[in-house]
Symmetry: D2
Subunit: 169 residues, 4 copies
């Protein structure tokens, strides 16, 4: 029984709560650089991963322009295993746009409910989770949050509880 | 395409660096209770998980008695998806013993190189990783560390580098 | 040479960045309870300290009502050693109001530039600092930030740099 | 009423639990470099501080050689405000040796019960505390731990409880 032959895994950073930081000068949350490099170090990951920041934006501010760009980068990407860190608020919208045009890659959207820079963030857990799902799931577009994986067309964010759940149970 | 019907996931805690704590009175590392409950909270896990502490021990101190006990608990366990947190030093030994007798369950061994109680631990990442692999891998016994998964019969700990790697590349 | 006879130290919590938390449901910063109890535990403080939450508010939102209340509580307080955790933006204003009416107590204002709940907060350092200054400084009203102490009438917040400095060097 | 004219504060690092780190390769605690630089950054200290590492050692392993060296460095030091980070086990012994020969400087010993590298360390609190006491106490040799200050000749470590306390109450 052979172990799968794997090209590198590509991670596209687009921002979201995952990468928000606290600006002590004006007391607001903002973006600097992605924390992905540090997180992979923290997790002592030995996987062959390439990270590329596409944008650092709150997903509530995403428009068709940003989502098209993400789609275009996924299409052009040589490896067929992709993770996208993304704000949770409109993660499902971007997943839809990508799923309608790409069928032959494993594309996983993940993020965090608490910024990495806060001590008690779910980001490191979600990254370990996404990195694992992307190695074993079949081609398709998924959202992985809360230790679970969802198909792009059967998931919604429960904004009241702050979790993701299936539409059809 | 159906989502898998999943019974609960069982996590057996056996100790290892994963759960070591610093005793400020005598300056040594020791065990209190498992950190698994807090970690699943931190990761905001929505999976149906049951945690049971079998022992809190450095895996260098494990003997045939401890490993038999772990094997027996895995046999008796009703769910077929099991994670075992374990010291990394003799994780492969215990995996061998379990693999020789259990063929029909997904059993994943994981741990940490740095105690959870240290700020920069890989434990939360490894837990997210194991919780994901256990949902999608087929029946078998695995070690998941460093974001990777290994079959029980093709893995060793590189004690010099502190990572896990395949025996046959 | 005698060690000073000390009644308890009173800490009044009024909010500010010191106690802000991240609300994962709406992505904003908000207040729950003060972190002071946990911080004193973390610092392993053996001092006799009593904590009272007066309000949990961003100091930019303070009006004469809040500052009068703080003044009133300081006047009524039995011990003559008081620390007030306060937002840094209008800490000097409240210090002025208190200093004009209370001459016989050691009253120290401190806070944090980064919320305690963020990993890299200055709050724990500032609390250790304030707790020490309050034991040795003479009666008066002070601001202690950045490891320094300032008299209430010779300090301003440098909003550009996010530090406190003397008005007259 | 003038603010005190202060030369820089000197911090000598000698090791102790304060600076211990976890070696993931062999599972033991060891020393790398001092964390003092990072801690002063974390505390956003604006004080003029110079840091010098004299040694990185568990204070149980200190002999007359190490203590004489610390004494010699304190004598030669130009500033009269000195902090020494030191293992808590034999902090009182070194304080005695220093106190017997130096009368005209403020010398403060501090340390930590939990390594800085652990999330829940008292080190940052103790550093803020020592940095404050050293600015306001009169010439003498002190131990500052648990938010308190003790004269060198009226303090002992309660090894059972892991705290410092006066000999004569």
């Amino acid at each position: 029984m052979a172990d799968k032959q794997l090209k590198y895994i590509k991670i596209f950073a687009t921002g979201g709560t995952f990468d928000k930081e606290f600006n002590e000068i004006n007391g607001e949350l903002y973006f600097k650089e992605t924390n992905l490099f540090k997180l992979l170090e923290l997790g002592r990951s030995q996987m062959d991963v390439k990270i590329e920041t596409l944008m650092m934006i709150d997903s509530l501010k995403m428009t068709e322009t940003e989502r098209s760009y993400i789609l275009g980068k996924c299409k052009k990407e040589k490896t067929n295993r992709i993770i996208i860190t993304h704000g949770t608020d409109t993660m499902v919208e971007t997943a839809k746009i990508v799923a309608q045009e790409i069928k032959n890659k494993v594309i996983i959207f993940t993020g965090a409910m608490i910024p990495i820079k806060f001590g008690s963030s779910d980001g490191l857990f979600n990254l370990g989770s996404a990195l694992s799902f992307v190695q074993v799931l079949g081609p398709g577009v998924y959202i992985t949050m809360n230790g679970q994986y969802f198909y792009w067309n059967n998931v919604q964010k429960n904004k009241k509880l702050g979790i993701f759940e299936k539409i059809n149970k």
